[in-house]
């Protein structure tokens, strides 16, 4: 195989690849070897299975919501059933899917390998966070089985503390526990990144994936406890009647909003930063170029994390916060869009003159660019004080955050899963099917959520199960899109499972990517590296890779 030193367009021949005899998957056998494992890769797989489970549960709720909204009349379910539907949808998708999605699966799997170490700093705590996640999930399911909650994912007081007789406390417990799961994941990442880097792995040689996770972890560690205490106070208010948020006793419901959004705005960055990390890796690999402006992209992650703590009141513009404060928060909100834009521009420049190929992960990355850009830009609309008064609590918001969370994070997650699937399982996914699913999701997604922008702009409020008849056309489009989208998400589940057995054998480095994880066998050994690697090159150094490949060819052949 001959390659010139500047570009490598030929992917390696996979027919000669073989599955390594010993790897982390077959190192030990039996269910217990999984349930008691300390191996970050196995924990990542456990997480992958459990979040997929909750993703489809959340998906069922989404389907039911869209079905109800097919017609203007409330015909499928009663109004409080509908309230439960969107509440459970939000709680499951945000706390049990999006927050752990990329960090707990791909991050867990890859960060130690990318840093050249054998495991995360605290393997037992890592396992503990999976169990906490499961406990949180169980409580959520319990809340569901005992009749659901209908507060919305935002637990707005005094609605949640006084006016509802649903399972608020159970759901609150679920979120409290799941919160600690994400705190421990973040803590583990931060310590690992500071303390466990291989020799020569300086901060500015780390892949951008690691930088993004570092920033997200900081948010998890500093933001989540505020949610925890807020939730505790809500639960205490409900159960024993203390009066911190209760206006009849002198409490201030807006204090709840402040504390809740102090976490939940940073949380939206917990939900997007890891995805941005994935995109950096994919874009570089499939344009065979170093990420343009590496330092800027790295620091923009940190900047997002920092600014993320200064903008939360943009969720409260119409709730009676002071005008002056709202003005400040509005300006700061505009600022936070800047680092996101920096990333988008840098990725675009990475593509420029790259040797681009369109494997599935790259298709997902392109979907991310388009959808995240629209989502982020509409976020800026919403951050503008005057505009927000008109658009808040309408479907415009719903469209905005689905563009960033589904169009951004979910696409990045799927792109990442496809990208690292060969590494995680040792087998390729079927390329044609996966391309089909990427395109299907993209089309389905836009069909679902683009009409919602228009609906919101026209004034259709969110969280109602009936609407005036003139909105029906757009709602039908949206429901139709949701069906397509559902197919787009089901397909990967099927063919990825299929590929576990029948997929082509991947080989060590099917994409000719430069990360440390691609230089070891797939699936990796339990201890990742036979010998501690010494890093003497920058991240995304394709010349180094070409050189290395050449040397291997000459020594082996």
């Amino acid at each position: 195989m001959s390659t010139t030193s500047s570009t490598i367009i030929n992917l390696p021949d996979q027919r000669t690849a073989t599955l390594p005899k010993r790897n982390y998957l077959n190192n030990e056998h039996g269910l217990l070897s999984w349930l008691l494992t300390g191996d970050h890769k196995r924990i990542a797989i456990l997480y992958l299975i459990s979040i997929t489970f909750f993703f489809f549960i959340g998906g069922v709720f989404a389907g039911l919501i869209r079905l109800e909204l097919l017609t203007p009349q409330p015909d499928l379910m009663a109004s409080d059933t509908y309230n439960k539907m969107f509440s459970m949808h939000g709680i499951v998708m945000i706390f049990l899917f999006l927050v752990p999605s990329v960090p707990a699966t791909l991050g867990n799997f890859l960060i130690p390998i990318m840093l050249g170490t054998r495991d995360l700093a605290f393997p037992k705590i890592n396992l503990l966070s999976w169990y906490l996640y499961l406990a949180g999930g169980t409580f959520t399911l319990a809340a569901l089985i005992f009749g659901g909650v209908d507060t919305g994912w935002t637990f707005t007081t005094p609605l949640s503390t006084h006016y509802l007789n649903t399972n608020v406390v159970t759901a609150a417990t679920a979120i409290f526990i799941a919160g600690f799961s994400s705190i421990f994941t973040g803590l583990n990442f931060i310590v690992t990144i500071h303390r466990m880097r291989a020799p020569g792995m300086t901060w500015f040689r780390m892949p951008l994936f690691v930088w993004a996770h570092y920033a997200a972890s900081v948010l998890m560690v500093l933001g989540t406890p505020v949610l925890a205490i807020t939730i505790v106070l809500v639960a205490l208010e409900r159960t024993i009647g203390i009066g911190v948020f209760d206006p009849t006793k002198g409490g201030d419901p807006l204090l709840f909003q402040h504390l809740f959004w102090f976490y939940s705005h940073p949380a939206v960055y917990i939900m997007i930063l890891p995805g941005m990390g994935v995109i950096s890796e994919i874009v570089s690999t499939f344009s065979r170029k170093r990420v343009f402006g590496y330092t800027a992209v790295a620091f923009s992650s940190v900047a997002i994390a920092l600014f993320g703590f200064f903008v939360w009141a943009h969720h409260m513009f119409i709730m009676g916060v002071s005008n002056y404060s709202a003005l400040v928060f509005s300006l700061l909100t505009m600022l936070v869009a800047v680092p996101s834009a920096i990333k988008i521009f840098n990725w675009a420049f990475t593509l420029q003159k790259g040797s681009i190929t369109f494997e599935t992960p790259m298709l997902y990355a392109f979907a991310f660019f388009g959808l995240f850009t629209i989502g982020g830009m509409t976020g800026v609309f919403l951050g503008a004080l005057g505009m927000d008064i008109h658009l808040t609590e309408t479907y415009f918001i719903v469209a905005h955050f689905h563009y960033v969370m589904v169009g951004g994070m979910l696409m990045a997650f799927l792109g990442g899963i496809h990208f690292w699937w060969p590494k995680m399982t040792g087998r390729m996914y079927p390329e044609s099917f996966s391309k089909l699913s990427a395109v299907t999701s993209f089309i389905g997604f836009n069909l679902t959520f683009m009409p919602q922008f228009i609906l919101g702009y026209l004034g259709m409020p969110r969280r109602y199960h009936a609407y005036p008849a003139e909105y029906q056309v757009l709602n039908v489009l949206s429901t139709a899109g949701a069906t397509v989208l559902g197919v787009g998400f089901l397909l990967p589940l099927l063919y990825l499972t299929w590929s576990l057995r029948y997929g082509a054998i991947a080989g060590n480095n099917p994409w000719q990517a430069t990360g440390l994880e691609w230089q070891i066998q797939s699936p990796p050994l339990t201890e990742n590296f036979i010998e501690t690697p010494i890093v003497d090159h920058e991240a995304y150094d394709y010349e180094w890779l070409a050189h290395k490949t050449q040397q291997e060819v000459t020594t082996v052949g």
């Binding site: 303390r195 006793k249 230089q519 501690t532």
Partner: protein, 258 residues
């Protein structure tokens, strides 16, 4: 050879050789750390990150306190004066003492004195229990006075403060009924904050039992101090929270009618 990354490096390297004179390989050394030094520092750093989350956890409560104290200052004063300063001060001293013994415990582990370590851990635990005991007495008093927020909360004492036998004057400034209602906010915060603090103490005491047990069997007297050290950090953090709670809750304004 597939796993070799660029230049690889065997595990016996120069630094490991010089590590050897002051570090015996400990059984507690985890394989994924290069050295025990690295393991210890990772542990300390991890613990500090955890304490960061604790700062933010209590931070939410402290902000709530700050807000309502400014809004309902008079109610906060009257309600705060219902708390028993003597008990609060004694508890502060007890907690400082407990922290002191904990610090000595860390020292004992560092200089590898097993029985001293056990002694200090036991003293730490005993003072921890003493703190909780006094807290219980205080809570009980609140219960009897109907100062627990909720349905049975009683504001009459704040609207018509009892007359002081000696001076013949009201012992406290009477509050208008709507302001008196706000004492409930104070007590809500009082119970939330001291309650959260007490929960942390209880968790700490449980851990102390476990650590004392392990210390008794000599686990921490051979140079492996990390668990003691990290638990110490937690225990001191809980102390620090109390150092703020005490003046904020008990000493808002102790001289209203002077």
């Amino acid at each position: 050879m597939d796993n070799a990354v660029v230049v690889t490096h065997p595990h016996t390297h120069e630094t490991a050789v010089h590590e050897e004179h002051h570090h015996v390989a400990l059984p507690q050394h985890r394989h994924h750390f290069e050295t025990e030094e690295q393991q210890r520092e990772a542990g300390t750093f991890g613990m500090w990150l955890f304490l960061l989350t604790e700062i933010m956890f209590f931070g939410g409560l402290f902000f709530a306190y700050l807000l309502y104290r400014n809004w309902y200052y008079d109610a906060f004063v009257s309600a705060s004066n219902q708390l028993n300063v003597t008990l609060g001060a004694i508890n502060t001293v007890i907690l400082i003492g407990s922290g002191f013994f904990m610090a000595l415990g860390v020292w004992a582990a560092e200089v590898r004195k097993r029985s001293l370590l056990v002694l200090f851990l036991v003293l730490t635990t005993v003072l921890g229990f003493a703190f909780l005991g006094i807290k219980y007495v205080e809570y009980h008093e609140k219960w009897e006075k109907h100062h627990i927020p909720g349905e049975h909360f009683d504001i009459s004492e704040f609207v018509n403060p009892p007359i002081d036998a000696k001076t013949g004057k009201a012992s406290e400034k009477p509050l208008a009924p709507d302001m008196a209602q706000k004492t409930q906010v104070f007590f809500s915060l009082y119970f939330a904050m001291t309650g959260m603090h007490a929960v942390h103490m209880i968790i700490g005491i449980v851990l102390l039992f476990w650590l004392t047990w392990r210390a008794y069997y000599g686990e921490f007297s051979s140079g492996y101090v990390a668990p003691i050290e990290n638990f110490g950090l937690y225990w001191h953090f809980v102390d620090i929270v109390w150092l703020f709670l005490f003046p904020l809750l008990y000493l808002i304004n102790r001289h209203p009618l002077k």
